[in-house]
């Protein structure tokens, strides 16, 4: 398995105020697959994504990504892990406002070990004509495509998308999802999307439902559809 999670537990707060964001999560995912994790706000899906991405650490349990056990890694080792393996896309893009589209992508290219060509990525995401624009000069959908380009330029093994269409209108959402599909097809990148939008589950190979920090269900998607076909 590409991702293996065993008995993952994460607690926030102490004493009576303690809340388990993850409460014994077991989960695995094959390489190259698209997985959509569904759940309402506060269900623990973002926490799970942060753990897999090496942004936070578990209180209990174990996470292995591509054979590398990331539980217990030092902050420095986690940084190296993210640099090597992970591409992030967030709901609010989190682009660096003082850098142009091209530079926002190059900022990752400069530290990546085997980066893809920035020009190629920009072309693939239909961003070439915006390369010298700054984030605030773009629409939300365009900004999210830049965020995808930035995540992909390092040619990551794992693409983690946190509510990537949450701030977009339907048309932009569809366009962004189309590019995610394209990336997955073109580069074979394992992709994990967390969302509360049930419709997005249609493009997944695997659909995981999470509630109160526990996996409620984990199913293979029998009828995988393209982004154009789903009802957003």
């Amino acid at each position: 398995m590409f991702i293996e999670i065993q008995n993952a537990k994460k607690r926030y707060g102490t004493g009576e105020a303690a809340v388990y964001a993850l409460d014994g999560v077991d989960f695995s995912l094959e390489r190259g697959k698209v997985c959509v994790i569904l759940g309402p706000s506060g269900s623990g899906k973002s926490t799970l994504l942060n753990m897999i991405g090496g942004l936070d650490s578990l209180d209990e349990g174990e996470i292995t990504v591509d054979g590398e056990r990331i539980t217990g890694l030092s902050p420095k080792a986690l940084t190296a892990y993210r640099k090597r393996n992970i591409g992030f896309v967030f709901q609010f893009y989190n682009l660096i406002p003082d850098l142009t589209v091209e530079e926002n992508v190059q900022v990752v290219e400069e530290i990546a070990q085997a980066p893809l060509d920035t020009g190629e990525i920009l072309r693939a995401l239909d961003l070439e004509k915006y390369r010298y624009r700054f984030p605030r000069e773009l629409s939300g959908g365009q900004q999210q495509r830049v965020a995808i380009a930035r995540a992909m330029v390092k040619n990551p093994k794992l693409l983690l998308c946190d509510e990537l269409t949450g701030a977009l209108d339907t048309r932009s959402s569809r366009s962004v999802l189309t590019f995610v599909e394209k990336i997955n097809r073109q580069y074979g990148t394992t992709t994990l999307i967390i969302t509360h939008n049930e419709a997005i589950a249609g493009i997944a190979d695997t659909v995981v439902r999470i509630r109160d920090g526990k996996i409620a269900s984990c199913e293979e998607n029998g009828v995988k559809r393209s982004a154009d076909e789903i009802e957003l």
């Binding site: 942060n50 991405g53 942004l55 936070d56 420095k76 940084t79 190296a80 993210r82 640099k83 090597r84 992970i86 992030f88 967030f90 709901q91 609010f92 989190n94 660096i96 406002p97 003082d98 850098l99 142009t100 530079e103 190059q106 900022v107 990752v108 400069e110 530290i111 990546a112 010298y132 700054f134 605030r136 000069e137 930035r150 390092k154």
Partner: protein, 741 residues
């Protein structure tokens, strides 16, 4: 208001800002307070001491003595207090002293330690010498070859600044002292001694009438008003220098620091715009919000002001003592006036408070939706510099963030600038004083010895060049030396400022110091008068000779003789390039090439503590202001920092990208800080001419420039080092959540 519960929480959360802002406020106010306390303390003490111990208004010598009956008659006629003072200059080998017969009416002494004279074998010594040499009451001392018991030590008002000779620039308490003997013992040892007269004028006295009457009847040999007597004037002049320094500090330092903190407060409030927008949306009125945030901002002012007032009270005494290093051991009471303390607390507090009020008011004029979105202040255009450049992204980022945040960049620049300015000013002070010691004699000429004789001589000296030196004054009784030299003199500097040799036969030349003091230039008419007869003379200034240390009018001995009425062959000073064997009774003073050097070394020694304290304060200001500003910059960049972390950037690279951008501000900050310090020094030296009557050349040596740059850079890197952990501690998830909110 429940909202006010945020105060303690917010202070805790922004502790670094509050501490550094309070420290900055404190340190800058402290500089003002300390100089102010020293200046006012010395002035108040001087006024009180002069009044209690009846300082003279003038002293004079006459060729014919004035009898006791005549003194009473003069007192009655002119409404003055007049007293004959008798003293003797004695050389006892390792030290020399001026022994006085105690006065009864003018320039009375105050016993400092021990007790007053009660027997003929007792003496009182000047307190400064006793302190310097560890002489205690009960010790024995030899004066004029006879052993005396030291009964005590004293101060007198006309020697609070203990210059052996009036031409000296710095005190000598290591080998020279004043002493009192009982009148009987003085008479037995020295007879009449040297006679001098002291006068205190009445409110209605016509001083010129009095002087003319004295000259007519007794032939005035010399006349020295108190305002030209450096032993007296230095008390207030030194105090005024402290006050001058205090006002410089007040204008330059707190002004800049308050501006810096105000900018920081403004940015801090802008960073709270989402909360301000939320509270506004919830129905909080503009006034309430303005009051709430202005109280936050007032905290550094109140804390800094109160702590500074407390520190100033605690440090007033030791710091004031530094200021007394030049004087006899006076005991002024140093205190911080209540109104100054209150102003010190109120002024910065009100400025910070007002700045916050304005900032919140301006924010609340914006659309609430914009505030909620945190877009106010972020709607500026991106600086499109280097968009198509192939430079590394992190370098482009660095340059662009500097340009895109001019306010923030300016604040960081200001921190560097301030630190460099204070440190460079301290170095410049040291360099300038040293320059006096190094250059002064060169401006005098090439002689190695200048013998000032106590009487006019006619016969040519065994060696050297004769010179006539006599004191004259302008209409405001500001004195200068009227000097006569042979036109072919070689040992005195005769080169004018335009590079010509002065033609003494045909003209009158003034020194650069005299030109500055009397506001004269070549071609001007200089009117002055004889200090004894008050007879006026006018000459046309032919040129200016570079000499910033002596105020003189120079011509040929013949020309000078026409003014003085003396024989053209008479002289009272000799310039030589080697020591002369002259009867010491004939010599009033010997100026050597080391004189100024030693005096300036002594000045530096006494001022050293103040100057080095200034330097330390500069370093603290530099570190505190940079810490505050870089801390602010990191807070404002926390989102970018966390994003770079998420993307896999390690802390070293993030530091390089976010913090190192400011390295670009380091060089201009240092360069302009040093230039500003030099500018202030030039101004300070100009003021010094009026106060101290010496032209200190504003100097900043290369070594000092390099040292300033090194110290400032070290402060800068130290503050960055202290903030490195802030990058380490930036919470990625929290920052991403904040962005989502």
């Amino acid at each position: 208001m429940k909202l006010n519960r945020r105060y303690t929480r917010s202070i805790r959360a922004n502790l670094a800002f509050y501490i550094s802002a309070s420290v900055l406020t404190m340190v800058t106010l402290l500089l003002f307070y300390l100089f102010y306390i020293a200046g006012t303390g010395i002035n108040a003490y001087g006024d009180s001491f002069f009044e209690t111990y009846r300082v003279e208004d003038a002293n004079f010598a006459t060729y014919q003595q004035i009898g006791d009956e005549e003194i009473r008659a003069l007192e009655e006629r002119y409404g003055v207090t007049l007293e004959k003072e008798r003293f003797a200059n004695v050389d006892d080998g390792a030290y020399h002293e001026r022994v006085f017969r105690p006065n009864e009416k003018i320039d009375l002494y105050q016993v400092q330690e021990g007790r007053d004279l009660s027997a003929d074998d007792e003496v009182l010594l000047s307190a400064g010498y006793a302190e310097e040499n560890g002489v205690k009451p009960g010790d024995k001392i030899q004066i004029h070859g006879k052993q005396y018991t030291v009964a005590g030590t004293f101060l007198r008002p006309d020697y609070l600044y203990l210059l052996e000779n009036l031409t000296d620039d710095y005190k000598n308490v290591s080998t020279f002292f004043l002493a009192y003997m009982t009148p009987e013992e003085f008479d037995a040892q020295f007879g009449d001694g040297t006679v001098n007269y002291k006068v205190i004028y009445g409110a209605d006295t016509d001083q010129e009438d009095f002087r003319l009457a004295i000259n007519d009847a007794y032939y005035m040999a010399s006349y020295l008003p108190a305002q030209a007597n450096t032993r007296i004037t230095f008390v207030h002049e030194q105090a005024d220098m402290f006050l001058l320094m205090a006002w410089v500090m007040l204008v330059v330092m707190p002004f800049i620091t308050v501006a810096l903190i105000s900018i920081l407060i403004g940015r801090k409030i802008r960073s709270e715009q989402k909360l301000i927008g939320t509270l506004s949306a919830l129905g909080y009125e503009k006034g309430k919000l303005m009051r709430h945030y202005s109280l936050f901002a007032a905290i550094p002012g109140i804390v800094g002001g109160v702590l500074t007032a407390a520190a100033a009270l605690a440090l007033a005494e030791p710091f004031g003592r530094f200021g007394l290093a030049d004087y006899e051991p006076m005991r002024p009471a140093f205190s911080l006036p209540l109104w100054v303390a209150v102003a010190g607390i109120l002024i910065p507090t009100l400025i910070y408070w007002g700045c916050a009020m304005l900032r919140v008011r301006r924010l609340l004029k914006k659309d609430t939706v914009q505030l909620l979105g945190g877009q106010v202040g972020n709607d500026g255009k991106n600086h499109r510099i280097l968009v198509k450049s192939s430079m590394k992204v992190r370098q482009k980022y660095a340059l662009r963030t500097l340009a895109a945040n001019p306010g923030r960049s300016f604040v960081i620049f200001l921190g560097i600038f301030l630190g460099a300015m204070i440190v460079a000013f301290a170095f410049s002070f040291i360099d300038s004083v040293k320059a006096v010691g190094d250059q002064a004699h060169g401006e005098f000429g090439t002689f190695r010895y200048e013998y000032i004789l106590n009487s006019l001589q006619q016969e040519a000296p065994e060696r050297g060049e004769e010179m006539t030196v006599l004191a004259y004054e302008d209409d405001n009784a500001v004195r200068f030396s009227l000097m006569g030299l042979d036109p072919d003199a070689t040992l005195w500097n005769l080169q004018t400022t335009d590079g010509q040799r002065a033609d003494l036969e045909k003209g009158y030349y003034i020194s650069t110091l005299a030109a500055a003091m009397y506001d004269l230039k070549a071609g001007d008419t200089f009117t002055f008068r004889n200090i004894a007869t008050l007879e006026s003379y006018s000459v046309t200034v032919s040129g200016v000779i570079k000499n910033g240390y002596q105020s003189y009018l120079l011509s040929s001995r013949e020309n000078v003789a026409e003014i003085t009425g003396l024989d053209a062959k008479a002289y009272n000073a000799v310039l030589t390039d080697e020591a002369l064997d002259i009867d010491s009774d004939l010599v009033t003073e010997v100026i050597t090439s080391d004189t100024y050097h030693n005096q300036m070394e002594n000045l530096l020694k006494s001022m050293g503590a103040v100057i080095y304290a200034l330097m330390v304060i500069g370093v603290i200001i530099c570190i505190a202001s940079l810490y505050a500003t870089v801390n602010m910059m990191l807070s404002e960049n926390s989102h970018n920092i966390s994003m770079l972390k998420v993307l896999g950037y390690d802390n070293r690279r993030i530091n390089a990208m976010v913090i190192r951008a400011n390295h670009l501000l380091l060089i201009p900050g240092i360069v302009l800080g040093i230039a500003a310090a030099y500018g202030i020094m030039v101004w300070y030296c100009r003021e010094f001419v009026e106060v101290e009557r010496i032209m200190i050349p504003a100097t900043l040596r290369t070594g000092s420039v390099l040292l300033t740059a090194a110290i400032t850079a070290a402060c800068y890197f130290l503050s960055l080092l202290l903030l490195r952990r802030k990058v380490d501690q930036t919470d990625m998830i929290q920052a991403l959540k904040d962005n989502r909110e």
